[in-house]
Structures are given as structure tokens and as C-alpha cells.
Assembly symmetry: C2
Homo-oligomer: 389 residues x 2
């Protein structure tokens, strides 16, 4: 709880819901006749709409990226460390848009929202979403704000995949593309972990084939297991070692199945908390979007060929101990961009925190990020006049 809102915070923010009535044709072949997106914005859009930055969220993220909802709010948005006045993504200069993706569970049209055709939650009938579908819905969001071209589209993990897909699908609509802690597509091991999470959720006796809303139940165990497992892959072996090691909660082994090592109680706590906060059907959809993501799949071209359409400048960032999407996976993107003769900067940041590092204000990460944002600023035509507003 911020006794006083910090000066470099965007302050008290409010989400808004934006309606879209033009049908959205999805990759799966189905159509959403109408939908709404829950959105937060920070900073001000300048008159020529050239200073907009889109933030794309990862698996369990949402539109609440920065700031607080009230003076009693215990914690700020999930990337508050990077977004605010004077921060790396400077809201004195840029107009930042963050949304909850379609299929999400934080207000946008998704499984836990009422299907107007049935008057009941979509539940498992909500269509499978892809990164392409999200880019399309985000492009319409840009239209809504009359943004022809984003100064930058930025995302970490699954968010980075959306930024990358934007550069291919709408090359003229972004000047900069920041792909952080991502991969050009999931590995078999990545898919395998997702599949364990999906099985945990869908085989939970309280899942009811996804119709748990009607039963007033929640597949809590499945969600808890999915999150515990996810959490292991977000942290590094080294990071876990230094944070938890083999420390015992009580200092003694109790020879039973109560949580004894610190890491056990930490994971249980994280899992249990998540299971009351996140929607199981959304979790399933998000993992599928991850599995299906592969910008080369549609045409069978190489990644380099697919990226040859891009006109944006790229910044790719990876973290040394990230084993979910290792530096090698980021380098595949960089190599493809270099081969396609694109402008690309790349930084591999030394960090013990694994995949989670992309959310953590690590000094060198912030330095690199800030330096790149100065280039984004330099490429934003009317930013100087915006600064005097």
C-alpha cells in the first residue's frame, strides 16, 4: 500500500472497456461478432498520434501494467518498475496502451464473460485464440485511438511474440519492436510443460469440462499445480538455490508430508493464491496460443523470409539464466533479422532470476532499455512539442 504515491508512478489509474462491433474472423475459422477489450492508458497521446506505445502481456498478465487503483492498493501494475514519469518507458513522453487480450480473464471478452448469444459465460466454448488474432484485435484498438503507427510495440515472453508478429502482419504500423525474453516458437519441452498444466486443469474433478462457472466451483487444484509448475520454469536453478536452497522452514525434518523446505511452502503459496485469482479456461487458451505460435507455419518460409516484410527496428533482450526461453532462442530471432538485413540491437543480460528477470528492475537491463528508448524517442517526430504540453 503506497502511503504516498511515488513521484515516478503513473498514480491512480482506471481501466476502461472498449466495445468493438465489427466481426473478428479468427485463425481457428470461427468469428467473434462483437467483443470488448479492457484497457489502461498512461500519459497523453500527442496530436499526430505518433507517441503511442503498445504493451503486450504474457500468459498470466493483463491490462494493469502500471500505477495503483486506489490509495489502499497493495501493489502496482505488473510492470510498474518500467513505466511511469521519468521511468524507462517515460509516460511524460509516451502514451502507453495496455490491454487484456481477448480470451483473458480480467474484463476483456473471454471465457469468464457472458456470451450475448446464450446469456451464460462462454466457458469452454470460447474460441481458441492465436497470436495473430491478438495482433488483429490490437490493430483495431490502435484504429480506435487513431494510431496509424506505434512508436514501439513492446512485450516480454508471450508478449514479445505478439510484438514480433505485429512487425510481420502490420509492418507499417510500428517503428520499433521490442522482443524481450521470448522465442520464435516453443520447443517440444516448452509444449510439454504446457501440456502438463493443461492436463492438471482439465482433469481436475472441479473443471466440469470447463463449465465450472455454472457449478459455482473452480478447478483450484489444477490451477494451483499449473502455477507451481509454471513458477519453476520462470525461476532459474541458480536463483532458486540462492533464494531458497535447502533451507527448512522449522530447521528440522519432520518426516511427513507437510511443507518442510522453504521452496515447498513458497510454491504452495504461489499456487494457491493464483488458483483464486485466475480463470482456468483462460489459462488453457493462453498455453495454446503459446504452443501454436510460429510465424513461419502459415507459409512454410524461414523465419528470416517471414521477417523480410518487417520495416520496424528491433531490440531483442534475453537473460542468461532464462531456461524457459533461453538466450539461444532470442539469438534465433536476432540471426533471422540480421539475415533479413533488418536493424536489430541485441542484449543478453546477466541475471540470476531466470525468465522472471524480464519483470525485474535489474540495473543493466534498465540501462539497455533506457538507451534503446532514447532511439525510440529520436524516431518519434513530434515528441519535443509533446514534452511541453
Amino acid at each position: 500500500m503506497p502511503a504516498v504515491i511515488p513521484e515516478d508512478s503513473v498514480g491512480i489509474v482506471q481501466a476502461q472497456s472498449i466495445e468493438f462491433t465489427e466481426p473478428l474472423h479468427l485463425s481457428c475459422g470461427r468469428t467473434l461478432d462483437a467483443y470488448h477489450l479492457t484497457v489502461e492508458t498512461y500519459g497523453e497521446l500527442n496530436s499526430d498520434c505518433s507517441n503511442a506505445i503498445l504493451i503486450c502481456h504474457a500468459l498470466s498478465g493483463n491490462h494493469h501494467v502500471a500505477g495503483y487503483y486506489s490509495m489502499d492498493d497493495k501493489k502496482p501494475g505488473w510492470w510498474d518498475s518500467a513505466i511511469g514519469p521519468g521511468k524507462v518507458i517515460d509516460t511524460n513522453k509516451f502514451f502507453v496502451i495496455a490491454l487484456n487480450n481477448l480470451g483473458g480473464c480480467h474484463g476483456s471478452t473471454g471465457p469468464n464473460q457472458v456470451n450475448p448469444k446464450t446469456g451464460k459465460p462462454y466457458g469452454p466454448d470460447f474460441p481458441i485464440m492465436t497470436v495473430d488474432d491478438w495482433v488483429e484485435s490490437q490493430a483495431r484498438l490502435a484504429d480506435y485511438y487513431k494510431i496509424e503507427q506505434f512508436a514501439a510495440i513492446i512485450g516480454g515472453s508471450l508478449g514479445g511474440m505478439q510484438a514480433l508478429q505485429w512487425s510481420i502482419n502490420y509492418p507499417d504500423r510500428l517503428r520499433h519492436c521490442m522482443v524481450i525474453a521470448a522465442a520464435p516458437k516453443l520447443s517440444a519441452q516448452n509444449i510439454a510443460f504446457n501440456e502438463v498444466a493443461r492436463q492438471a486443469i482439465s482433469k481436475d474433478s472441479q473443471f466440469h469440462g470447463g463449465h465450472y462457472y455454472e457449478q459455482n466451483e473452480v478447478p483450484k487444484v489444477g490451477l494451483m499445480l499449473a502455477r507451481m509448475l509454471g513458477h519453476i520454469t520462470y525461476l532459474s536453478d541458480d536463483g532458486m538455490k540462492s533464494k531458497f536452497g535447502r533451507d527448512l522452514r522449522s530447521g528440522e525434518i519432520s518426516y511427513d508430508f507437510t511443507p518442510q523446505f522453504e521452496i515447498e511452502s513458497y510454491l504452495r503459496y504461489q499456487g494457491e493464491r493464483f488458483s483464486t485469482e485466475f480463470d482456468a479456461n483462460t489459462y488453457l487458451l493462453m498455453t495454446k496460443a503459446l504452443d501454436y505460435f510460429d510465424p513461419t507455419a502459415k507459409t512454410g518460409e524461414s523465419l528470416s523470409q517471414v521477417l523480410s516484410k518487417a520495416t520496424a527496428k528491433f531490440m531483442v533482450i534475453s537473460f542468461t539464466t532464462d531456461w524457459r526461453f533461453s538466450p539461444e532462442r532470442s539469438q534465433e530471432i536476432v540471426d533471422a533479422l540480421v539475415y533479413a538485413d533488418k536493424q536489430v540491437s541485441y542484449a543478453e543480460i546477466e541475471a540470476a532470476q531466470g525468465h522472471d528477470a524480464f519483470l525485474i528492475p535489474i540495473p543493466r537491463y534498465l540501462d539497455v532499455f533506457k538507451a534503446y528508448m532514447q532511439r525510440v524517442e529520436g524516431d518519434t517526430p513530434s515528441l519535443n512539442s509533446q514534452e511541453t504540453i
Copy 2:
């Protein structure tokens, strides 16, 4: 199914159950008044009982290490590739003993066996077992066979931990100790994966607090999840990539939750098969024994100090892509042994198969293993006379 039993097979084998009536005091403070161990042996014990080799099993292993149970048997024991006449562990020369550990689910006293005091399965009342307890029970098994000193004690993974503990607890009772794909203790990440597996099992609605036998149910989903997850950690990222990659079962994405990638159906199949074959309470016990294993915990000495008691010669083997117990973890053991001035050989085997590699007949692995077994043979007093039997 072997149409003909291969010449280098131990052939048709039979398990036997051995009763022990002297109470066994366990690390947890409880006592097993009596117990039985299910055992298989291959080869012949020589007259001075100097040619015995003990094989210790890993998490889901058992006493059926080599050979077939019948001519219709579809597959041999779990380490048949290494054990047989003329094989690396040559049953023409050595008398090989393999057992199902206490707490196991393949015949030895364990949760799925009847507690004579209650007439019902032990279930969750079976005491927590430790590697120390297993070593103690195995020492009594050696007594039963009148084996004062093993030619070698050999194990992979959790089996390697038992071999290592033997060298500390009973230094005079083994001449050689082979520790394969093991670690001196689990890391926080290792414990974390075990905890997810335990939660999956114990929170399964068919677990009934471990009393599922009485309900005629099995926590199949929990066991399936535990095995799927375990399997990911047994394989390497690279191995999964070359075996499955992003191959689709039908060649097309179906935009639903049916298994689409080959890796998904592989894992589901492995998980489902395991869930019908293995006991959930045993799985819980085995993961706890892994978590608790730490030869230094009792005295607070360093690993090197603890190992200073050992008189055996050591062979430590690791595999390059094993990320469950990486080569660095094996090197910790080697370093401690070197520091304690023990005889130790070490080989890091290039292998794509991850942790599972220890079960796979990889040529260089077999070469190294065979070379070391020649040293074991050289240190076995009466082996030449045994060869003529």
C-alpha cells in the same frame, strides 16, 4: 516378446520374497517390527561370497533389473542392457542382487502391502523412508546371503545415492561404489518438481488421504501428472527436440484441446500407463527419500569430511544433457572424494538423452562401464575360479 531368449540375457528369472524378523529402526524414529524384501538374483555367488554386486534402484524402479518372466514377456528388466552373460555387468562372473526397496510397490513391504497389525494395507501409515533406512535393510539382505563385502554397489539416480551412502555407512562392506547420474543432494529446483508431483497426487480427489485401496480407487490423474512431469525432467531439451520437435500428429493444427503435437500424446501415454502400474503412496515416499537425502545433514560436516570414512574405490558417471542431476552435481561428488584423497574415476558421457541416458546402452558409456568393471573383477579375489564353474 522374445521369440528366442537372446544369448546374452540372464534368461527366464523369478523373484523371491525374503523375510526379515529383526526390527528395523528407521530414521523417522519409527520401527518396522518385521518386513520382507522382494529380490531377484542373477549369476552365482562364489564360495567366498566375494563376487556379489548390489544394484540399487531409482524412483520408479524395482527388483526386476534383467531377464524375462516368461517366453511371452514383452520386455526385459529395466537395466537388461547392462546385466547378463558377457554384458557390462557380467553374470558369468558376478552374482547380482537387485531388490525392491522398502516402501516400494513391487512386493517388498510398503504402502500397498498388508500391515500384519491391522490386516489392511499400510497406506499412508507406512513410515517415511530414507536412503539410510534402505542401506540398513540392504545390509541385512547382504547378511542373509552371507556377503561380508560387495565387489561393487551400483546405482543410477536415487540408486547412486544409495551406493554413495553405503560407502559412508558401511565402508568395509563394498570394494567399489558406482554412482551414476546422481547428486550429493537435491537442489531447490529438484525439490520443487517433487513437490508439484506430491501435490498432484495428494490433492487428487481419488487419493482419499492415501486410503484409496479401501475405496477401490486409484489417484490416476495425480500419478499421471507426476509421471508426465517427471518424464520431462528425465529427457533433455535437445533430446525432445530431435525426437519430437514440433511435429503434429495429424499434420494440422485442430484448434482444440486434443493432443496435437507428438510430444503431447507421448507424455499422455507415458503418464496414463504409469498411473495404472505404480502405487501413489510409494511415489510420495520415494520423492521424500530423494528430498531428504543429504549425507552431510546428520553431522554438519562437509561432504568431503563425511566421505573420508569411505574405503571403497569410486566410479562416478554423468551425462552431458542431464539437467535433473547435471554433470556439475556429479563433479561435486568427485571433488569431495578427491579432496578426501579417495580413489575416484570420473566420466562425463556425451549423450542427448538427458537423465534417462543412464539406462540407455550408449557405446561410450558401455565402454567406460566395462573398463571399470574389469577393475572390479581384478579386485575380486576368487573370480578366476568362479569363471570355471
